[in-house]
């Protein structure tokens, strides 16, 4: 039980242990950006609406603007900087699924979680997942194509995409 308003916590980020002082009131979005210099998670609406701040907690997409940093203790945090697997990013490039790029880290992480968690999704499932993110440049069709192309490659390789 912690009674202070700021605490020393250990976060597991992209496979590394980081010890840092955080205010209980701080959201993970700002800890990542301001304290750890991980700028991939972007501030957008800060209201859970746009998905540009998406990170993965234990492999599940979460809006980092809607989680207190203290809640992430004892969980595995993955940011775009930690997604060293280039294949997802490459599929976005190949399918022209990037314009200004502001939404892209969120989309890439969400798409990665989708293909990891649902290897054989139908269109409705893909839509359900992608609905969580907003692209200000409205590249929705290209983004969906990128996800489908990742899934196809994975299927053709009998499930071993990487």
């Amino acid at each position: 039980m912690k009674a202070a308003q700021e605490n020393l916590v250990t976060l597991n980020i992209n496979g590394l242990q980081k010890n840092l002082y955080v205010r209980n009131a701080e959201t993970l979005l700002y800890t990542l950006r301001d304290q750890l210099g991980l700028m991939g998670a972007k501030p957008g609406c800060e209201n859970g609406d746009c998905g540009t701040c998406t990170i993965l907690i234990d492999g599940t997409p979460i809006n980092s603007c809607h989680i207190l940093t203290v809640e992430a203790v004892n969980h595995q945090i993955t940011t775009i900087e930690g997604l060293l697997d280039q294949t997802v990013q490459n599929d976005f490039i190949k399918n022209w699924a990037i314009q200004c790029g502001y939404c892209t880290p969120g989309y890439v992480l969400n798409s990665y979680a989708l293909i990891e968690n649902c290897p054989d999704p139908d269109d409705a499932v893909i839509d359900e997942w992608l609905e969580s993110n907003i692209c200000r440049c409205t590249g929705y069709q290209e983004i969906k194509e990128a996800v489908k192309s990742m899934l196809n490659v994975r299927k053709n390789k009998n499930g071993s995409y990487y």
Binding site: K2, T27, G48, I62, N63, H66, E71
Partner: protein, 278 residues
């Protein structure tokens, strides 16, 4: 950024959470129960709420239960909407949950947070109103079980310091024919103009609504009117509109007239669909 500071507690028992709440209060502090935290963080950021301590309920095992106990479906208040939507333990609840927010938000929003939150929609409540579910509440003296209608009908009636532990639903309600529909102003992800959940139990339609009034509701009078086959469908729908339990919600998402128009359309679809379903 949240401009004020607070203490953060993550109790592991119900008793610990309740004791913490009252101890903090006795020390002149404002404690606040916290589950998914999505509403709290947004409200705190926008200076709509200020507290001295948050008590995170996610560490309490009873709040994370999600299973059949005999014929009773037990849903802990900290279970997320994604977990519920992806399961098929209570299909109507899964469908209604899947229509709330978007998937990433649902990974964090809890069922207890949705039905106890300060927004007027609380859509996940609708299936529980139809199923006459029971709620398990933590209170100062211990735990009490009561009808969902007493606590959540027309607003949240929890006393200061009380919190929702679980919702218990008779398993038979997972098997009745059901239909739900959610109409929003434009995109799929939005608050409802009308969210309707219905079930046919013993030949009678049950219906619960969100987005129509300033609170989600199910009323006996409305169902009596809707099931009275001595009148035409059109008359029944008009009677429902005349028997709403409060003023029709009117805001930037939808005017009063528009909400009533959409409600009439959805009720017509419901009456069509329920024909021949026993």
């Amino acid at each position: 950024m949240i401009a004020f500071d607070f203490e953060y507690y993550k109790p592991t028992t119900i008793q610990e959470a309740v004791t913490l709440f009252y101890d903090l209060q006795a020390n002149g502090k404002i404690p606040h129960y916290y589950a998914g935290g999505t509403e709290f963080i947004s409200r705190a950021r926008m200076h709509e709420i200020q507290v001295d301590a948050v008590i995170d309920l996610k560490g309490i095992p009873d709040c994370n239960e999600f299973q059949f106990n005999g014929n009773q479906l037990v849903i802990g208040s900290a279970v997320t909407l994604t977990t519920i939507a992806d399961s098929n333990l209570f299909p109507l609840l899964s469908d209604v949950s899947r229509a709330i927010a978007h998937r990433t938000a649902r990974n964090k929003i809890t069922i207890g947070g949705n039905i106890s939150g300060h927004l007027c929609y609380r859509e996940a409540l609708l299936p529980f109103l139809l199923a006459d579910s029971e709620v398990v509440i933590a209170e100062k003296k211990g735990i009490r079980t009561t009808s969902i209608h007493k606590i959540y009908q027309n607003g949240v009636q929890l006393n200061d310091g009380e919190f929702l532990i679980q919702i218990i639903t008779d398993g038979q309600f997972s098997n009745y024919p059901y239909w739900s529909s959610k109409k929003t102003k434009h995109s799929n992800v939005n608050y409802p103009i009308v969210s309707l959940a219905s079930m046919k139990v013993d030949g009678k339609i049950r219906v619960a609504l969100s987005g129509v009034c300033d609170f989600p509701f199910r009323t006996e009078q409305l169902e009596l009117v809707l099931n009275d086959t001595s009148y035409s469908e059109q008359t029944r729908i008009q009677q429902v509109l005349n028997h709403l339990p409060g003023a029709t919600h009117n805001d930037m998402h939808g005017s009063r007239e528009y909400r009533e128009f959409v409600l009439a359309q959805e009720l017509a679809k419901l009456l069509q669909r329920s024909k021949g379903v026993s």
